[in-house]
Amino acid sequence: MGIVVSDVSMDFGKPPVHVLKNISLEVKDREFVSLTGRSGAGKSTLLYVMSSLDYPTSGKVEIDGHNIHSMESEELHRFRNRSMGFVFQFHYLIAELDVLQNVLMPARKSHEEISRLERAQMLLERCGLKEKMTRYPRQLSGGEQQRVSLARSLVMQPKYLFADEPTGALDSTNAEGVMQLLKDSCEKDGMTVVMVTHDPDFAAMAHREIKMADGQIIDKIERAKV
């Protein structure tokens, strides 16, 4: 079913600043889409609106046929927990928990930490963190922290992964590692990935690149078939 964005606009403040202007967009299942553009183009806001973290002023977003902004709170949180993964520029790891416990946090919400343990360990192994599962976030490098946050977003095998500049705070080596993991998630695990990036090389790794400026889509570049 994918993600369908229909005529979404978003205003901020008074007098209103139009951050998104009548955006319509469709993201197919298993598609890897990158959102690019200059700072202030509205790409992060669009990502947050698409992922239910923010509400549009008008228009609607449907994921798998559900209008996510009209869902009841309980249903929305269950949907986020089960079907969505998030990676942000900052890792947002919980300092008091070790690497494995951080990765299992989404599973705790649905009382699946035992059944998801093997997957969490596998993901950490895939992220090159097999030996560091019992370490705390402060004992990891920036790249490692971001990989842990990626593993956390994948532990529930979500259908949709939303990434907001996941490589923004990383050096090139770590950034490439994270990007490869995102690409694998899409190609091997069949996830739908929507990623905001400033980096043209990483944007080019997606099936489709959507360029934004002044709250509008100005170009759509199809690089590969899903």
Partner: protein
């Protein structure tokens, strides 16, 4: 979320310890202050309710007023009557009118623990050339009287039951004995009203510590009735209740049952009870002050934690945790601190109270033979302390927890955490 709440608490050891100490001292102060006040009040009440009956059923005697006899003498003929010598004296009855009816009523009342029929007479005690001493002579059945008051516990010589068989034997209060200058097994003279003096023998001595009570003499009911010239008459029934707090309610209901005057211990000691009410207000104010200070400790530290953990709140909400989970994350921290702090506060409060009980503090008296502080260890204090501590911890935690639950992930992410 308790798992994460515990992690937060363990990670901030110093803050957690400080908050714990606040609750700990608050609970301990609650236990100690309540124990002290309740112990003191309990001791006082015990003195009041045990040394005397809790309800007195007494013959009703009223002084005549200037116009009480107007109608009897003049009917309705005169609106105003003027007496050159107004009538004086008492009206009513000198004895309980139908003691058997009262006994049957008291036997059937489940609220009554025991009762004792009494005849009290004003007597003159004479021992040789020692000046005569006026004092109350109380006739009773010692077995029944022992169930109503604690007089038997204050015996210094002899046994209270020694007057059971009668035969002009008396048990005297220590003060009365001292003033009469008599000793055990000595005989002296007693007269009531205009009756001829009758010899009585001292068979026991008691000391309550209250000079008024120690100026009394106890004898067998039949002996006192005989010397008073009123065989079979009693002028009081002293009643002990299963629950002394029911005394005023019982007083009201019994007042309608006969011509007798009913008085409860609470009425007789209204001043002391009002002092207790002031003490309770003072106690409550002190405890609340300590608790509020401890509550502010929890509130401040949790508020700070909420601010420090904004990023965690953002990611938890993004991972599918809802507002209730966030409330529980912070609320449970307050509750855990409240539970642990109050648990140790209760234990240390109890130990402190036990220590206070060992301190010699007051003059030794028959009612307080060891002269130590009376500290209550009533389980109700501990239940209340736990309840108040948890209530305070809950109230102090719920506000920051609710504030945290209202944060939306997007607000935090936009502000850069």
């Amino acid at each position: 979320m308790i798992f994460l709440a515990i992690r937060y608490l363990l990670e901030r050891k110093r803050q957690t310890l400080l908050t714990l100490l606040g609750v700990f001292f608050g609970t301990m102060a609650f236990v100690a202050v309540s124990g002290f006040f309740m112990g003191f009040q309990g001791f006082m009440v015990e003195q009041l309710i045990n040394n005397s009956a809790q309800v007195h059923i007494e013959a009703r005697l009223a002084y005549l007023s200037n116009h009480d006899l107007d109608a009897a003498f003049f009917g309705d003929e005169f609106v105003h009557s003027f007496w050159s010598v107004p009538p004086a004296g008492v009206s009513g009855y000198v004895g309980i009118q139908d003691p058997q009816a009262w006994f049957a009523r008291l036997d059937a009342d489940p609220r009554v623990k025991a009762y004792s029929p009494i005849l009290t007479a004003a007597a003159l005690f004479t021992n040789g050339k020692v000046p005569s001493v006026a004092a109350s002579l109380i006739g009773c059945n010692p077995t029944q009287q022992s169930k109503v008051t604690t007089i038997a516990d204050y015996m210094l010589q002899g046994k209270f039951s020694d007057i059971t068989t009668g035969g002009n034997r008396l048990i005297l209060g220590d003060e009365l004995m001292r003033r009469l200058g008599v000793g055990l097994e000595q005989t002296f003279m007693v007269s009531v009203g205009t009756s001829a003096p009758v010899p009585f023998k001292v068979v026991g001595r008691f000391m309550t510590g209250s000079r008024g009570a120690d100026m009394q003499a106890f004898g067998a009911l039949a002996d006192v009735q005989k010397i008073n010239g009123t065989p079979k008459q009693i002028n009081e029934i002293a009643v002990r209740l299963n629950d002394y707090l029911q005394s005023q309610e019982i007083e009201k209901s019994w007042s309608r049952l006969g011509p007798e005057r009913i008085e409860s211990w609470a009425d007789l000691n209204a001043n002391i009870l009002s002092v207790f009410a002031i003490q309770n207000t003072l106690k409550f104010s002190m405890i609340m002050t300590v608790m509020i200070v401890a509550g502010f400790g929890i509130y401040n530290i949790l508020n700070m934690t909420v601010n420090q953990k904004r990023q965690d709140i953002a990611i938890l909400r993004a991972l599918g945790y809802d507002a209730f989970d966030v409330v529980m994350l912070f609320f449970s921290q307050g509750l855990i601190v409240g539970l642990i702090g109050s648990f140790f506060g209760l234990i240390c409060g109890y130990l402190f109270c036990r220590y206070l009980q060992t301190i010699p503090f007051m003059n030794v008296t028959p009612s307080n033979p060891q002269g130590r502080l009376h500290i209550s260890l009533d389980s109700l204090i501990y239940v209340q302390a736990l309840g108040f501590s948890l209530l305070m911890a809950s109230l102090a935690s719920i506000l920051p927890a609710r504030a945290a639950s209202k944060l939306t992930p997007i607000e935090i992410i936009r502000q850069g955490g």
